[in-house]
């Protein structure tokens, strides 16, 4: 293997000439005291590319995203704007060894959470054994009394999960958040790979990378496993809130990949506790609904009565076992940020195993001790609302202004139970093209997607989100985040 410098062509601007990961773990290079030798070949290949060429390819990829309409929608007061989620051309690579650990950790977590949800809606043993405080769950607005004693096929509540993982300065993977309701982003995983294959085929040559494009086929077969009993060839549909939803592109993607109808609430109706869709040939029975609609909007007879997006009577059909929803109603009790802190204990309780992926330490502000600590150390902590998603309402202490900290303190005092606090984690970084003439370190996270029928399968890799503004650690698309293609190297590769 040649040295890094031997490949330098001094006439060209090499992309990583001035790259500096600082004190963070770098997903390409590792740490100075513990370099990631497995990825040296990729490093060298990147160095062999002219910076200007890299920028041209990035521009091509951007144009293609626009043309394909791979967009998310941002709503302003006046109109809806289709925005392309920024795509960074430099991939994030996970070695086979690292991936084995992530994969095992994600499976373990999803299994434990499914067992936890079953317990909450049935025996409630975990509360009786004093492992998790009961009121933490029962006071949660995502607890659905309607689900008590409901038995989902195979005991699976969370068929589709997205587990947010970060990597600290020492290179250790930590779980930051569980998403057990309607996690989004998987379409970008597949589309980013396709984009990469077209824009940058030469970068991939010689690397054995786990494929991602069979996600739809896998999901369809998992959803078939959970269909109501007695049905051999179930009709699966994807229920979307509609084309104005910001994730509508993903709904289209998933429906296409699975070859199933993309329906809206108005396309379905319930008669005799059975669900039908309105087709040109008349009513057609529906057996499994992959719903990308929150619990609240699903059935105006049971939940939000003003919802026009849902299907009246849907929950009756669910209870009769005539239709299965993925994910089940009421899974929000498992991905609540306050429950999060108990997940390692939940894993030990149900599986009698140590958690493979540890949590980030968090302070649950509903607890007096934790609240006091949080208020005293506000400028060192990241404070998050418990029920929000999308990166809204987050206060990053070390980066917040005086006024922002004061405002956060006020909110905390007013409603402490609504917040958790976590220490500032040194998120790992990845080389990222900035503007068209520099490659700099930017913070990344990772959201692997796990699908569960009889067993759990994890899509190799997942969505790497990158915080594009310099120094930012908020990776959400609504807050200036972009994405990267995520490669998982196959075990047999060098």
């Amino acid at each position: 293997m040649g040295t890094v410098t031997s490949l330098h062509n001094p006439a060209l601007d090499t992309p990583l000439e001035n790259y500096d990961a600082g004190e963070f773990y770098c997903e390409l290079l590792g740490r100075p005291d513990n370099p990631n030798t497995e990825l040296l070949a990729l490093y060298e290949r990147l160095q062999g590319i002219d910076l200007a060429d890299l920028a041209i390819r990035a521009e091509d990829a951007k144009r293609e995203l626009q043309m394909l309409g791979i967009t998310f929608t941002i709503y302003t007061e006046r109109d809806a704007v289709d925005r392309v989620l920024p795509f960074d051309i430099i991939p994030r690579v996970i070695t086979a060894q690292d991936w084995r650990k992530i994969e095992a950790g994600v499976c373990q977590r999803v299994n434990a959470l499914n067992l936890f949800i079953w317990d909450v809606y049935h025996k409630r043993q975990i509360f009786k054994d004093g492992v998790v405080p009961a009121e933490l769950v029962f006071r949660n607005s995502n607890f659905r009394p309607e689900m008590v004693d409901y038995d989902p096929p195979l005991g699976t509540y969370v068929q589709i999960a997205g587990i947010d993982i970060i990597r600290d300065a020492a290179g250790q993977f930590l779980v930051l958040e569980d998403n057990c309701r309607t996690p989004s982003g998987v379409s970008y995983v597949v589309e980013n790979r396709h984009l990469m294959q077209r824009a940058f085929p030469d970068l991939m040559v010689g690397f054995a990378i786990e494929p991602v494009s069979d996600y739809g086929v896998r999901l369809a077969s998992k959803l078939t496993e959970i269909c109501p009993s007695g049905i051999s060839d179930p009709q699966i549909v994807l229920l979307s809130p509609g084309s104005f939803n910001s994730a509508y592109f993903e709904h289209i993607f998933l429906a296409r990949e699975m070859g199933i109808p993309l329906v809206e609430g108005g396309d379905l109706f319930v008669e005799n506790d059975r669900v039908y869709m309105k087709t040109i040939a008349g009513p057609t029975p529906v057996h499994v609904i992959y719903r990308r609609l929150d619990d609240d909007f699903l059935d105006p007879e049971v939940f939000n009565e003003n919802s026009l997006l849902g299907v009246p009577g849907l929950m009756r059909a669910v209870h009769k076992g005539n239709v299965t929803l993925a994910n089940a109603v009421g899974t929000g009790i498992a991905d609540d940020k306050a429950v999060y802190d108990y997940v390692p204990r939940i894993i030990r309780y149900y599986l009698a195993e140590d958690p493979i992926l540890p949590n980030v330490k968090s302070y649950i502000c509903r607890e007096e001790e934790a609240l006091r600590y949080t208020l005293e150390n506000l400028d060192n902590l990241v404070v998050k609302p418990v029920g929000e998603s999308g990166g809204y309402g987050i206060c990053v202490g070390p980066k917040a202004s005086r006024a922002e900290l004061d405002e956060c303190r006020e909110r905390l005092k007013r409603n402490p139970a609504n917040y958790i606090a976590q220490p500032m984690i040194d998120l790992s970084v990845c080389p990222t093209l900035v503007g068209d003439d520099a490659v700099e370190a930017r913070h990344v996270d990772l959201r692997p997607f796990a699908i569960t029928g009889r067993e759990t399968w994890v899509l190799p890799g997942g969505l790497t989100r990158v915080a594009l503004p310099k120094g930012s650690i908020v990776v959400n698309s609504s807050q200036g985040g972009g994405t990267k293609d995520t490669w998982v190297l196959r075990g047999d590769a060098k």
């Binding site: 043309m67 309409g69 087709t279 040109i280 040939a281 008349g282």
Partner: protein
Amino acid sequence: MNGKLLSRHAECAFWLARYLERAESLARILETHTSFRRGQAGSNSWAWIVALYAEETEFYKRFDEADAASVIRYYVTDLENPSSLLASVRAARENARTLRALISTEMWTQLNDFYTRILTFNESDFHETRLSRSCDIIKRNCYSEIGVAESTLYRDEIWPFFYLGLIIERADQTSRLLDVEFARQMSGASDDRPETQTSLWSVLLRSFSAYHAFRRVHSRGFAPHLVARFLIFDTHLPRSIAFCGEEIQRTIAQLRGEFHLSSAQRPLDHISTFLDALREESQNAELFTHLHDFNDWVQQALIELTAELGAAFFGHAFENQSLAATTETSTSLQEQLQS
């Protein structure tokens, strides 16, 4: 594959094609008007375009006069007017967006690219002097989309609905253009020297993309009744009423037969009745004197057919009134024309 096409998606496919055809038609008409008519007597008149879509009331509420600026504003750039060129393209794209999971990637990218491109057009691109060029771009992009659909759209039930939208709109556009153009030509307001007349009829045929085809069939002159009969009854001309009518019938018959949709029977009966009446009309030597009534009848029949399709497939509540109107209109036309 049977029974999985949502009613809503069938309707979107139908309207996707209608909006494309509508945009193509309007772009072609405006293009012909601004290029071939230059220098002709009456070429400054834009009022007839307002008459084309029978939107005089709406139009004159907003503008005092139908001149280049007001007509272009209303029919080209105004997104508030649902029948404007840009609004039609936008509506086509919105329908395609809803259908995105069902149409081919190629159909989506062509239309999305087209839409993004015309969004970059500015005022000057639609000024009278450049209108013809911009309309040509729009027209060719509509053709491209229809062509891409023809080459890539999977031929399950979605295709017949797309195709029905296309040919129903085409028949409607032909009937409207025929009506307005003949009224103009026959009004005698313009100069009636033979050479001017020749040029007028050739422009008229060009606005149907039918000039050279007509020449091949009738190599000398432009007898007005021959032009009219050609545009109505020639079964080889893709824009003729007869051609579209037969395609509509064939497509609905496919829904009834190949796709076993029994609810296709009523629309099928409707179009068959229409075609019978049309064939009878082709024998009518007096047709030319009733051209306006004839066109009203065609447009009414297409409106009723659309309602029949809505009731049979799109889940629209069927209005008994429209059923009554169907039979009544059909008879009344025959009575009217045969009397």
